[in-house]
Symmetry: C5
Subunit: 369 residues, 5 copies
Amino acid sequence: MSPKAPNLKSVQKLFKPKKKKRPSHKIGLPPGSLVFTGDKKQEEVFINLITYDENEFYEENIKLDQLDTHLKLQKKVIWIDIIGLHDVELLEKIGNHFGIHKLTLEDILSVDQRPKMELFEDYIFSTLKMIQCPSPESPIVDEQVSFVLRENVLLTFQEKKGDVFQFVRDRLQDPKRAIRQRGSDYLLYALLDAVIDNYFIVMENVGERIENLESQAMIDPDTDTLNSLYLQRREMMDLRRSVYPLREVIGSFGKYAEHKISPEVRPFIRDLYENTIQVIETMEVFRDMSSGVLDLYMNSLSNRMNNVMKVLTIISTIFIPLSFVAGVYGMNFDNMPELHWKYGYFFVIGGMGLAVIGMLFFFRWKKWL
Amino acid sequence: MSPKAPNLKSVQKLFKPKKKKRPSHKIGLPPGSLVFTGDKKQEEVFINLITYDENEFYEENIKLDQLDTHLKLQKKVIWIDIIGLHDVELLEKIGNHFGIHKLTLEDILSVDQRPKMELFEDYIFSTLKMIQCPSPESPIVDEQVSFVLRENVLLTFQEKKGDVFQFVRDRLQDPKRAIRQRGSDYLLYALLDAVIDNYFIVMENVGERIENLESQAMIDPDTDTLNSLYLQRREMMDLRRSVYPLREVIGSFGKYAEHKISPEVRPFIRDLYENTIQVIETMEVFRDMSSGVLDLYMNSLSNRMNNVMKVLTIISTIFIPLSFVAGVYGMNFDNMPELHWKYGYFFVIGGMGLAVIGMLFFFRWKKWL
Amino acid sequence: MSPKAPNLKSVQKLFKPKKKKRPSHKIGLPPGSLVFTGDKKQEEVFINLITYDENEFYEENIKLDQLDTHLKLQKKVIWIDIIGLHDVELLEKIGNHFGIHKLTLEDILSVDQRPKMELFEDYIFSTLKMIQCPSPESPIVDEQVSFVLRENVLLTFQEKKGDVFQFVRDRLQDPKRAIRQRGSDYLLYALLDAVIDNYFIVMENVGERIENLESQAMIDPDTDTLNSLYLQRREMMDLRRSVYPLREVIGSFGKYAEHKISPEVRPFIRDLYENTIQVIETMEVFRDMSSGVLDLYMNSLSNRMNNVMKVLTIISTIFIPLSFVAGVYGMNFDNMPELHWKYGYFFVIGGMGLAVIGMLFFFRWKKWL
Amino acid sequence: MSPKAPNLKSVQKLFKPKKKKRPSHKIGLPPGSLVFTGDKKQEEVFINLITYDENEFYEENIKLDQLDTHLKLQKKVIWIDIIGLHDVELLEKIGNHFGIHKLTLEDILSVDQRPKMELFEDYIFSTLKMIQCPSPESPIVDEQVSFVLRENVLLTFQEKKGDVFQFVRDRLQDPKRAIRQRGSDYLLYALLDAVIDNYFIVMENVGERIENLESQAMIDPDTDTLNSLYLQRREMMDLRRSVYPLREVIGSFGKYAEHKISPEVRPFIRDLYENTIQVIETMEVFRDMSSGVLDLYMNSLSNRMNNVMKVLTIISTIFIPLSFVAGVYGMNFDNMPELHWKYGYFFVIGGMGLAVIGMLFFFRWKKWL
Amino acid sequence: MSPKAPNLKSVQKLFKPKKKKRPSHKIGLPPGSLVFTGDKKQEEVFINLITYDENEFYEENIKLDQLDTHLKLQKKVIWIDIIGLHDVELLEKIGNHFGIHKLTLEDILSVDQRPKMELFEDYIFSTLKMIQCPSPESPIVDEQVSFVLRENVLLTFQEKKGDVFQFVRDRLQDPKRAIRQRGSDYLLYALLDAVIDNYFIVMENVGERIENLESQAMIDPDTDTLNSLYLQRREMMDLRRSVYPLREVIGSFGKYAEHKISPEVRPFIRDLYENTIQVIETMEVFRDMSSGVLDLYMNSLSNRMNNVMKVLTIISTIFIPLSFVAGVYGMNFDNMPELHWKYGYFFVIGGMGLAVIGMLFFFRWKKWL
């Protein structure tokens, strides 16, 4: 009956706390300073190397000094997947090796970077969020993933193991797949496509959460519903910050495609762009749905209040007048003739009964019952 | 009197549940994978072929292998209408036959595709939603329909039997009609026009539904009203996702018209574009109306609450003071002179009567009665 | 006291019901089908012909077959005003006579056409709504009026008798007026100007209605206020659909003016454009005012509720404790010393009086009284 | 206690009634008709003439026929300030004298003209609102002021005496001022700058009013607060209609500057443009603040309601159960043993006291007290 | 229990009062008048001079007349930092020395200038707000800082001592830093970057404040919460006025970079631009969060109200009927058989007990308890 402190614990399990935008310890450093702004999520940094052409496929976890040997093999495509960003020195070496601009390295390390795609003289750089939410009950986990495409070499940078690229790796192993025929630009496309595809699963799960909140708001709203809804909306604000810039990112990709990407890959980028639009529009629909749920909740609440008020009114309206009558005949005046009638009491009780019946009809007529 | 669980059943008959955006089982497949993402709505796939020129008209349900024979006849226009999308292999064959890009075929099969129109080297591709809602009481049924226009051949792909093209077919059979004089581009226009025309009927019925909700909210609002309104708004969100991209779709059509469409068809496309704008503006009006209905409903509700409160207040204000007076004369003090007056009781009763009359005038003056 | 069913009758006299967007009976017809989509508002179709140059002015109601005779006279300007659209055949003949495109004729006949201006090879076509609302108490009546300007001939198409062009006709009869010096393009401008000018009167009256609602919402709000407000907003939605496209319409007029309109008329078109902007901005102001009135109304309502609650609270707070005291001394315990005090009763009554006075001061201090 | 009719009188002193947009008596007149649409605000029309160059400065109130004499003097700059617009004939003569287009004259006379700047062949025309609001307590007074710049002659048209140009006139009298070195274009700039500068004072005062409303809404909200707020918002709607077009007006000025304005004046126009943007942004902030004040007010109101309800609940919760107990021992059953206990009465009274104390602690714990 | 006057004092410590937009004492002055519009924040004006190239670094507080000596040394970069703006004469001398336009000087002195960047013939001028908010509990302090970049000289103008440039100064002292290799354009970039970087700290602290308000609104909302929220929103309005124009400012910087900035500095400007976007997007998120907090607060409040109402209803519903029964048996009719039953009293008391238990179950079933 008390205004319950909302059960925040149970809700927070689902919605992870929002991360700080940009850590203060970076302030004051010159631009291009390489500082990893995220949390160290694993001990070691892995370098996973995949090289392939139509005929061969080779995958190995290598050390940095082995890199040269592999680059000399001159395969059609070389994909170097760096997993773990906390070893800044290693990243700097890789950056030097491939002629990556200091600012690009800084972007790779700043894990709260806004998604973007930039064209440098020698390479295309892109960074975006890889979001995972395997079920409606699990929290949304995001991770920054960066891409550097330089001729036949594609570098990817992830924060930790576990990604959405497994399907692409599987396809690469099958020599009959079209991907084996194509170049590093198609590989970049395929990985971006895997990231965006995964957004659809996240959207599905977020959608299911909103629908759950919706039924809750319709059938059985309580304080937690609104708090959940509020946290849901904050989660979606975060999500929007990952999703909305994608339009621009993939749009730029399409633009650069004119110069840097082989013509046969271009229709795929257009397709990717449309998927992105679809993700963004779904976000918009979710936004509208959320505010609809809020209306529903408010209505349920005020409806309940209404019902409580009606009960109070009905009880008061019936019994207060009756109590008055009882009070009247409880008065101690010497001369109250009714008190001495033989059936006075029964008349009064009967009259009261009739009044109750009358009022019940009245309430029924008013549709209060 | 209890906060009724809203009667969802009755509402859901009208508003069909929203479909998933993109089925998870497509995730991980390479781009261009041909997977039908909808529900199989009929057993067989029909291929309906219509060929015509000024002089002749021919219609038949054919098998795939009969196609070549008909294509050789070199009629002015060949319309191949594929009804049913679940036979992916068949579609692949047709795609190969007419040189349709894998991504186009994927779009045809992904029945939650965003409406679009694309210009490929050899053909124009368009996909949009064919929406049907024959009466205000019937649910909105949508179906994806795709068009591929390649020279004198127009391919259309529908999910199931039953479409809005019957009027066009009827006109085609009449040799005096202008449509028989014109090419496949005019046929594409005519079919798009039929689809858009049908949106007007849907709009009419949606409008009627909103007007019903409106009268309900004004005259006799209950919990269901808001839930219906909420579902109505969700339905309109879905509808908007089908309708809004049309501006762009038909706009692109107009743009491509410069190159690919014969000059005499262009004014018709402009006309079609204006119809589309009209549909979109109607959607906007509906959106405003919906939020107006919400205001009305909320007002009705708070008005009722107000009335309930007034009843409570009137009853309490009249009887609580009277009860107090009765209570006073029910006290058992030895020395209460009034009790022994001969007409004490009648004075008190009379006084109470006057007080009631006074208060009724007061309430009347306050306009509470 | 009951939640009154709002007095819809009285409100609906002012706000006419919204017309259907596009009649279903047109669906399925080929584009360019000539079907009059409005209501037949008069029996006959009138063709009013006015010809004039600097020296002569001639006006007559003619029959279609007399038209040629008049056209041969080669006056500087010929204005043919067709009043009544239901005689489709007649319109078709006129269309053929002046080389009007089928789609243009269709637009003329579809009386729910969105306002537009189109440049055809031989003529300029424009259609818009002529709105009349002579007083704040009268409903808004709209009528579609279409213009076809072809060289020195201006065709106008109206649904029924009674228009806003009378002032222009009067000016035409006066040979000293500038309009007699100028061509058919200036006549078109003058008629459009008359239509837009009339919007200002409508705006004035709509503004007055909103101001009435406003005083009502401030001084004496009831359920009807909100319903009226709601209907007012719907009326404005309708109005906006007539008004907003005008920006584009007159804007196009300005654009076409570069080629088709004589240079001396151009500044007038710019002036007309600015008037249109002014009408649109007034609509925007009305929109804001409407939502302001809603806030006012809601505030008045909740203020009233507040006052009702205060009355209830004051009455209860005063009498419930007093009744309790009376109840205490109505108890029948054998040993209640106060009952036997000589002035017990008077002490209690006096104490109650003091308590009432104290509470009244308390409420005054709280500003509840 | 009654729902007070808001004290409109006191509020209306501050907020002047909104003027009609466009007087109906102009409807039906041909374009370019010269009708003064404002109220005649003074008897006479004054023509104030100022001529100056680096060396000389001359100011005089002249008659129209003296104009030629002064124009012949061929000073560097001639500023003719016409104060009072109701003498249409005089204005027409001036118009003819300087070759001003009929439509320009019409704009000068229509005192509800939307602010604008237009480039004619021979002159630049601009009209805007000169707004004055010397203190937060005084109403906002606006007046239309028009400018015609034609070579070295600047004509200004005001509705009545009293303007914001006095500072400019003072500077003109000082031969050392830069303004004496510069041409008529700089004079136009200086006057426009004076008008815009004055907007800042108005903004300051409007800002102070909003802040007053804000403290009122926080500390001591009553019905008048909302009505004032509502009127404040309407005032700002009016103000916006004067202010928003300024961006376009001064923007056009900058554009025309390329051709018609001497290069040294151009940076000043850019500066003026930025001031205009600042005024517009301040309006936007005020808009947000207004809606914030509304929230504050609504909160204060519902907070009060809450407190009223709490009082009612506390009183009822304490006394209703106690009254029940008293009622029980007021029953007249023959066999009620407690009544005959010696200290029954005192036990009951004591028990009641304890209950009250308990409930007070309960309420304290609930933070209701 | 009374509607507490909100504790404004405690809140105002955190949120400083908004400054006036533009001081009225500037009105009437000619454009380019040099008047310092801020508050004098320190006694003296300091001129801090830093000169450096790859090899040497020199810093000194100088007097104006020493300036020439230093300028003659022809170091690679000269940074003159003027701290304190109230000595208008001094500023005018500096302005003359470096050929700064009067309007630029006016902008430097008008401390409520909108952030901007302008390209003059000889120099780039920029002005923006340097905002400091070292902790979530401290108020936001802003200060206008202006930059004039003219060849190898960078002038900065601050209102008072204490800035965010210390990190840059430290880096300048280290000869190995890249900044010592680069020109004055890089120095300008580095200072702008320091300003923008500091916005991130402010954002972090504002974010924390909003989150505090959020927990307060969820857990323990009172009147102060809304007032704080309201002041928070006003603070953010102010902040937005500093932050939003930055997009344009840094955008212009990027545009001018094409001509005036050395190519190696350009990628840094792009990076700076993206940081600016991120700040702006964070502001947007905060805006959404604020309105979310408002919803939460309103919900908490109405939830409390609901609970209060429930208590009232439960107490009334239980005791009013019971009191009625007690009242009935307190009536003084001669013939009331129940009164004379031996266990009548106990039956009645027992019946009342059962009724209470029944009602408690009823409330439990209704989930009111």
